[in-house]
């Protein structure tokens, strides 16, 4: 290995060691209670909550796959940030504080806890938890893929070693320090991922004349990049409109993001969640990633001619071609930060969900704090192994799996969590029937598409699967609630 590659490997490994050290010190300060291990006693202040939400929201998708998708579909892919940013912000301002207050008052750790509190149904809590756990797995599975690919693509290590390294390091610090380790590392990771994506953009865009030069270059080579439905003719009218419904709900209701509302110390802390959305969207999704994506084709040529023909590797290859070698190591650390900061929250959450929403309702007993932490740790280890197995056989473009499958599933929590917050008549039968039907619709369509190879992953008849599920879900939840009567809190 050349000396440059060795130094870059050293920077990436140094970053990994730093994360484990932070996890160790966080672990020493963690109290042996479930509320501290999973929620830091709901006392996270404004700065930490800003960075933990930002780093958790922005994953490998924001760092790698977004650029690849802009390269393939052009500005049509701006549908992703423009469809959800403001709605995430409004949902937090309009409902986030209510959830936080109820969670604090009733000791809630998960979304399932809210379902049990609101509807008095252990079955509803169990189904919500199980669905959250399963769809979370698809999401977790996408993250190590990107991290391992870039380490492999730049010749720093082989794919499987990289997979074990990133999975192992994230697992270790999450197991040791719980949420405190996740939040502390998120602080560093949030700064790294924003900073180094901008650094990468600077070195790639400067030689071609900055933002104006990038737009001129891309427009002269392929004007179709700048209009709907994009060069691949993918973002057709139905897909565009349905993403405006499915994405904001799917993202905001993702369990690992939703529970961050439970952790806020006060209103000022909670208000940092919308700020995190705006800050990260402004820097990553709406400016840097589109610009890098638009020039990928003109600068690197068709993906099939790349050394490794994967669109996800656009940023590493652009860096390899245009940036000095000493930039690559820190930017890779930024990319690692993007992936690890999301996957650590999801790993921790899988333990949280398993203990509170799956194990306790199933065995009808409340576990002690010590037991909740131990059982959660076992679940985190099992979840990580499953995620690595998924990542061993990665899908062609991992963003499809996340947007198409995971968010479609999470969006199905909308009636139980949001409608139920305002509409008193909604009852446990309505929520359970609607949720099962919504999840069955999403899964059924997905399986049908996979078996018969119909349409793109996640869309049926040009409408996002999450929207099909939501329509069935909401209609049944309302009808069943209206025809059944239940004593409610």
């Amino acid at each position: 290995m050349a000396i440059e590659a060795q130094i870059n490997s050293g920077i990436v490994l140094g970053y990994m060691v730093l994360m484990i050290i932070l996890g160790y010190f966080a672990g020493r300060r963690t109290k042996p209670t479930a509320e501290d291990f999973y929620l830091m006693e709901r006392k996270i202040g404004p700065v930490l909550i800003l960075f933990t939400y930002l780093a958790t929201l922005q994953s490998m998708v924001a760092f790698l796959a977004a650029t690849a998708t802009y390269a393939t579909h052009g500005v049509a892919f701006l549908v992703l940030p423009v469809s959800q940013g403001i709605i995430l912000l409004l949902l937090t301002l309009l409902t986030g504080w209510k959830f936080r207050e109820l969670a604090k008052e009733h000791g809630m750790l998960t979304q399932g806890d809210f379902i049990y509190y609101r509807y008095g149904s252990k079955a509803g809590q169990f189904i919500t938890g199980l669905a959250g756990y399963i769809f979370n797995l698809f999401y977790i599975g996408t993250q190590p893929i990107g991290m391992a690919y870039i380490l492999w693509a730049l010749g720093l290590m082989d794919y499987n070693t990289a997979l074990l390294l990133v999975g192992g390091v994230t697992l270790v610090y999450t197991l040791i320090g719980g949420l405190r380790a996740v939040v502390w590392t998120d602080f560093i990771q949030g700064i790294l991922l924003l900073l180094f994506l901008v650094v990468a953009a600077f070195f790639i865009l400067a030689p071609i004349g900055g933002i104006g030069g990038a737009i001129s270059l891309a427009y002269s080579k392929n004007p179709a990049l700048f209009s709907l439905p994009g060069p691949a003719k993918f973002y057709r009218d139905g897909i565009w409109v349905s993403l405006f419904i499915a994405l904001p709900l799917g993202i905001w209701l993702s369990p690992h993001l939703f529970v961050r509302h439970y952790m806020a110390r006060d209103r000022k802390s909670l208000a940092m969640i919308p700020i995190a959305v705006i800050l990260s969207q402004c820097i990553m999704w709406v400016v840097v990633s589109p610009l890098l994506g638009l020039i990928t084709g003109p600068l690197l040529g068709p993906v099939k001619d790349w050394r490794i023909p994967r669109a996800d590797l656009a940023i590493p290859f652009l860096l390899e071609k245009f940036a000095p070698w000493w930039v690559i190591g820190p930017v890779l650390a930024g990319a690692m930060a993007a992936g690890m900061s999301t996957v650590d929250s999801q790993m921790l959450l899988s333990g949280q969900i398993f203990v509170r929403d799956i194990y306790e309702p199933l065995f009808k007993k409340r576990i002690s704090d010590k037991g909740a932490i131990q059982l959660g740790r076992v679940c985190i280890i099992i979840t990580t192994i499953i995620a690595i197995i998924i990542a061993l056989n990665p899908p062609p473009l991992f963003i499809d799996l996340m947007i198409g499958v995971a968010f479609a599933g999470f969006a199905q929590f909308f009636p139980g969590l949001i409608i139920g917050l305002y509409w008193k008549r909604l009852n446990k039968y309505g929520v359970i029937v609607g949720l099962i039907a919504g999840l069955a619709t999403v899964t059924g369509i997905q399986l049908y598409q996979m078996i018969y190879k119909v349409g793109a992953i996640g869309y049926f008849m040009d409408v996002h699967n999450g929207v099909w599920g939501l329509v069935v879900n909401i209609v049944l939840a309302v009808i069943v609630s209206l025809i059944t009567k239940v004593e409610q809190k």
Binding site: L89, I215, S227, Q281
Partner: protein, 67 residues
């Protein structure tokens, strides 16, 4: 007054979001270029900046309501 302003900011944000959602027919042609930027990119950037400003205003007003 603050509550009213917050409601207006929320409603206005939602309306602009709806307008962007239903803007797909005017985003199908990359022309004209506005200060060198193809129209769809310019339109989506501009509406997004307006939404961020409204969003920040809504956050500020929401905090004021809680004081």
């Amino acid at each position: 007054m603050t509550k009213f302003a917050f409601k207006i900011a929320v409603i206005l944000s939602f309306i602009i979001w709806l307008v962007v959602m239903l803007s797909f027919p005017i985003l199908k042609n990359p022309e004209p270029l506005i200060i060198g930027i193809p129209f769809p990119l310019f339109y989506l950037w501009a509406t997004q900046v307006i939404l961020w400003i409204l969003g920040l205003l809504a956050v500020y007003l929401w905090l004021k309501i809680g004081e």
